[in-house]
Amino acid sequence: MSASSETRNTLKYTRWLWGMFFLFLAAQIWVSISTRNLRVAVDDMPSPPSVRSLKAMAFGDDEFLFRYLGRWLQFIGDGGGRIKPLRDYDYDRVVYWAEALDALDDNKSDYIHELMARYFGEITVAVDPKSERLGKVVGYLHVVALNDPAHFWKWLVWVANKARNPMRDGPLIEAIARDLQSPELKTKAVPAWVRVLPVRLYLSIGERDKAQAVLDHITPEDRAEIEAQKRALDAAVAQGKRLMNNSGQPAQPAK
């Protein structure tokens, strides 16, 4: 075979290779376009595994698994450009998962509690008119708060707010008012207004005598703290200062 015919053959073969490359590239583009409507299946929430299974999945690092599954619980049901409405969740399962994950972290972290309150607990009356789903979140956070009131007192306040509105659950309001008078909450780590909150709760269910009894038992230290806070608040309002930033957190003092 002469050199020129060999070059011709090589050129021919190279052209054929390019041709095949573009043919398959075009096929890939066609497949890509024709499958645009197909969406990846969104995971549904399974029943939570047993404590033993969770320990096996953790490979010795429970904290990592807690953080991993906590984030998974935050996004479960959403994906592929879709968002699952809160009304479609099985709240019994959600609470089981929350309890299982709390056990994995020895109830130290506030992440699952935040998730339950700020995401699953934000279900509206329009889709949960009898507060059946909200009641499960409230029940969970109530137990969480009672396990360590000095640490998780803010969930007692959250539960109290939900019990008043939208749940309007008198017996629960009364129970929380009692819980808020727990000796464990009488520490400096808990603000004085939390210990005075039962007054408002009792008043909201018409228990004026019990409200008065709480007022009668306010300690001088708590009274002084609340009055100092009230003076600071009045001064801030008089000066037109913003009390909260856009995220609802206390505004930083101007520098």
């Binding site: 490979f59 010795g60 690092d61 904290e63 990592f64 953080r67 984030r71 998730l115």
Partner: protein, 255 residues
């Protein structure tokens, strides 16, 4: 011995191993920061837990792959025969080789501490305890990989066996807990006793790798029932055990 030590370092640099691991560590930390940003709250804690586990995965997978393929190439190119013709005993060769790998691995593990501090704001004794435990863990992984690579004829088989052994080391105590809880796997008590005894023997032989590198230390600080002392003891027992086995294997091998 010093020449062997230097040889391992030079070949590691030639294979761009430290650079590859550093690049993978940076990607792992960047991923952790990304994940941390997507959580509802406690983003830093989530980032630290993810960072700790990703770093662990990069170090273990990287070291097992590098050590196994490095040692097998040493056999395939007959470099090991050239090295052993020098006045160095086979035991000294194993120790020098292991020392070089462990110094390299220890440096790479130690570097992750300032990376976690800088990128994810890790602080306190917890990150130091975690860093120390990572150094000890990679020392065990190096000894394990060296043993597998010397004992097995194929690099791929060595990687698979070393990783299998590692996973078993992190889960054996969990299986032991199941076995000791008297949960039967079968109706036949004889089978149950055999199962429990087998698991008990396996768990006794395995190193307690599940105790190392707890993300909990990064998030909440030291504590949780054990400290570095027990990890130090585990390393001080298991590394010599594997090195003696490796040296014995090399002694009976004919080149």
């Amino acid at each position: 011995m010093r020449a062997t030590f230097r040889y391992v370092f030079l070949t590691a640099i030639r294979d761009r191993f430290p650079i590859a691991i550093l690049a993978a560590l940076i990607v792992a930390i960047a991923l952790s920061v990304l994940v941390a940003g997507s959580t509802l709250s406690e983003g830093q804690q989530a980032g630290l837990a993810y960072g700790g586990e990703f770093i662990r995965a990069v170090l273990v997978l990287g070291l097992v792959t590098f050590v196994c393929f490095h040692v097998r190439r040493l056999h395939d190119t007959r470099e090991i025969e050239a090295i052993l013709t020098r006045p160095i005993s086979r035991t000294a060769f194993v120790i020098a080789y292991y020392a070089a790998f462990s110094v390299l691995a220890g440096l790479l593990a130690a570097i992750t501490v300032p990376m976690l501090v800088a990128a994810l704001g890790a602080h306190g004794w917890g990150v130091l305890e975690w860093g120390a435990s990572m150094v000890l863990e990679v020392w065990i992984v190096c000894a394990l990989s060296l043993f597998c690579a010397m004992a097995l004829e194929s690099a791929t088989a060595a990687v698979m066996v070393a990783l299998g052994f590692y996973v078993l080391g992190r889960t054996a105590q969990f299986f032991l807990a199941i076995a000791l809880s008297n949960l039967g796997v079968s109706e036949n008590e004889g089978i149950n006793i055999t199962f429990r005894s087998t698991i008990s023997v396996i768990a006794s032989i395995m190193p307690r790798l599940d105790l190392f590198g707890q993300s909990r230390w990064l998030v909440y600080g030291p504590g949780g029932g054990w400290g570095v002392e027990i990890l130090l003891l585990q390393t001080a027992i298991y590394v010599p055990l594997l090195l003696f086995a490796t040296a014995r294997d090399l002694h009976v091998r004919k080149f």
